[in-house]
Amino acid sequence: MKWLQLKILGLSMAVAMLGWAQGTQQTVDQQGQAPPALPAPEAAASPSFPLEVAGYVNFRYVNNDAFQDRNFYREYSASLFLSKTAGRWRFHSEFNADTQPEYDSEGIHLFPRRPSLSVKLDNAFVNYNARDWLQLQAGFLFIPAYWRTHRYQSTTLTVDEPAVDQNVFPTALKGGAIHGDKYWGDGGVSYMAYGGVDQLSEFQESSHSVQTERSQVIGGKLIFHVPSRQFFRTFDVAVHRLHRTGADDRPDEFYGVELHLSKSRFEVLGEYAHGSMNVVDGVRSYIRQGYYVQPSYRITPKLFGVVRYDRLDRDSRYADQNGLARMLAGITYRPIPAISLKAEVNRYQPGLARVPAYYGVTTSLVWFFNLP
């Protein structure tokens, strides 16, 4: 995979250079244009810097009865987003640094991972907009499950992600996608069809891990933006399907459904994901599945209350050992939209009460920034 990683990095740099050249050209063009001398709105980047830069810095503190050798840990992480739009082309990338790599997501590591630090490319893609309903994407992409796509600490209301995230659907792929949006009235449809090579280097089975780095994945997602005559601000229902073929020629089949509902101060998020693993002649070896439901309420413009119930069954053959249910209650305070202070209490219930329920407290501070 090294050659592919190098190609993606090379592509990122080439697009950045293209952006630099394009930015310079735009500045020249605008000087010869009639007033007002504002930059093109699609190119919000400063004329002196060719890329749009954004990012966030996150500090997380977890105190949890489950850790036997240390019952707390601190995590510092930061992401840097570099983007550039030039006409119908858009480039977007995310670089991430994290001091707790063992709890980290998969990515393309830029340096050898150390016990206390990982620096990696989390995604990088080029998007071509032929029409709003027909766009092409290529590069290092996220699998478009809701939480994976919108997982950033600067926008989520909870510190911890639901257990279903990264544990049923794969995380990311190197490949391409066709996607688009079409709206009618206050409703519409969004779709994405994708294919490529799974980025997940290993897949944790009940007692051992399976190497999946060369697995091929193909999938599709359909989102219905349900018209509601403005009763709901958002009423999205999505279905998602993915087929993965590993080196052992025993494919895995995944499907999922999602719900995103918001009205006034209320919001509800929900996902269900199901994986039939090692399917041979239509018979699966076991099932992996999980779901979460997360209602939230905006108490004041700056203060949110959130609760979540989520559950994951990692292996249906050993459900009593590999299941986990979690209840969460938390608050998020945003004095300004770019800063989030979060605190939450978790109750964990391992499958079939194999061990007693335990509790945890998690807090975080997030600062989002963008340039210019």
Partner: protein, 144 residues
């Protein structure tokens, strides 16, 4: 002052404050380039243009939307009535768009600059106070 005068004064203060609260706020209009083929669009379609969910007009011109500066009095009204969002929700929406898609919000300018911008660009769209409207731009009516 007599008790009656105190009561009259108090009633006057209440009436004046009620008048101040109830005074009509400045109205806004959505403006486009005079060559724009649309005379009217639904509220939801206008919102898609400003939220960058739609990037091109049906005849191919790139949508060039402008937002007003945060201290412009009509900005909150526009966000609430057209985008169905509060100013905080709008800011959160753009943070989400920057992180997930690499899409930046429209530039924020003064109403006068927005009008000049739209008058100069066929794909331009913005909103300005009704009092700032003139013949250099075309009003885009919004159907509910």
């Amino acid at each position: 002052m007599t008790r009656r005068q105190y009561l009259r004064l108090a009633a006057g203060v209440v009436w004046a404050s009620h008048r101040a609260r109830g005074s009509p706020q400045e109205k806004f209009v959505v403006i486009v380039h005079p060559s724009n083929q649309f005379d009217a669009l639904s509220r939801s379609k206008v919102s898609y243009l400003f939220l960058r969910k739609v990037s091109r007009w049906p005849w191919g011109a790139e949508v060039a939307a402008l937002d007003l500066a945060e201290d412009e009095p009509i900005r909150r009204d526009f966000a609430r009535q057209v985008l169905l969002m509060t100013a905080e929700q709008l800011a959160e929406y753009w943070i989400d768009q920057r992180t997930t898609r690499g899409v930046s919000p429209p530039l924020q300018v003064r109403a006068a600059a927005a009008k000049l911008w739209v008058a100069a660009r066929p794909g331009g769209i913005a909103y300005i106070p009704l009092s700032a409207l003139d013949s250099t731009v075309k009003v885009l009516r919004m159907d509910s």
